[in-house]
Symmetry: C2
Subunit: 152 residues, 2 copies
């Protein structure tokens, strides 16, 4: 999936991503980078609104899991179970969320084994949110993926 295809799929399925003017900078199974401009995501102090930053990180982690499962030929329904966000610094400008996960990741290996065995598995992914060249927030999201039942 190209960066344009991921953006169009998010714009179509999740209207809020369009309102945020989400951009996709990278859409690999090992790394997703999503960005958004300040204006549609600002707060009353003209920094990035926490809700927008949190949402950007949810979309970055969800997209990475979606892309990795698709690359493995295992399309799944993915549901978020829990998330936490630590806001470290105000974000004075456009923000970017980065989520990484590769095949060497031990948590991914456990997740893939459980999914293959049970058709359902749980994975925690992390994202960092940067603005103006500085790490401004850390996000953790726990997702459950389940194999889609075969079409009847």
């Amino acid at each position: 999936m190209t960066t344009d295809e991921l953006r169009e799929s998010l714009y179509r399925d999740i209207p809020l991503s369009r309102a945020m003017q989400l951009a996709v900078r990278q859409a690999d199974p090992a790394c997703t980078v999503l960005a958004m401009p300040l204006a549609p995501n600002a707060n009353h102090m003209n920094t990035v609104f926490g809700g927008s930053a949190n949402t950007l990180a949810i979309l970055a982690t969800w997209s990475l899991l979606h892309l990795r499962l698709a690359a493995d030929g295992k399309p799944c329904q993915i549901v978020i179970q829990h998330n936490t966000m630590h806001y470290l610094h105000p974000m004075p400008d456009a923000a970017e969320a980065v989520c990484r996960c590769d095949d060497d990741d031990a948590a991914w290996a456990r997740f893939a084994r459980t999914l293959a065995r049970r058709g359902r598995a749980r994975l925690t992914l992390h994202a960092e949110v940067h603005s103006a060249g500085r790490l401004c927030a850390r996000f953790e999201g726990e997702f459950v993926a389940a194999h889609r039942p075969a079409a009847k």
Copy 2:
């Protein structure tokens, strides 16, 4: 502040709240209730997108703190430090976030004393998110409030 005034202030200061078609059902210093329709906040399964639900809860808790401090004649700058969200069930329709805090609340009393003494204090607030008559998510947010410096 009336429900209309709170909605207009959020629409003006936080453009994302307008994109979510946020509605204010209650805007009291002891209870805020914010709502949003499904369509602009949907995901690919046509239930409420987690990022929208999380953002609704951030706005409900932030608004309650803002209204309580304003009612006490202590306008402050309020910054979110940390939040967690537990998604219990899919939200099949419009969602509503409810945040309550009253003068009997021991955490509020500690917060108000620290704010009066130091001009800065930290408070954890909770919100519940309901959809179709069911509790679907629990939110916790930690905020720091600081007295605004006097105008020069």
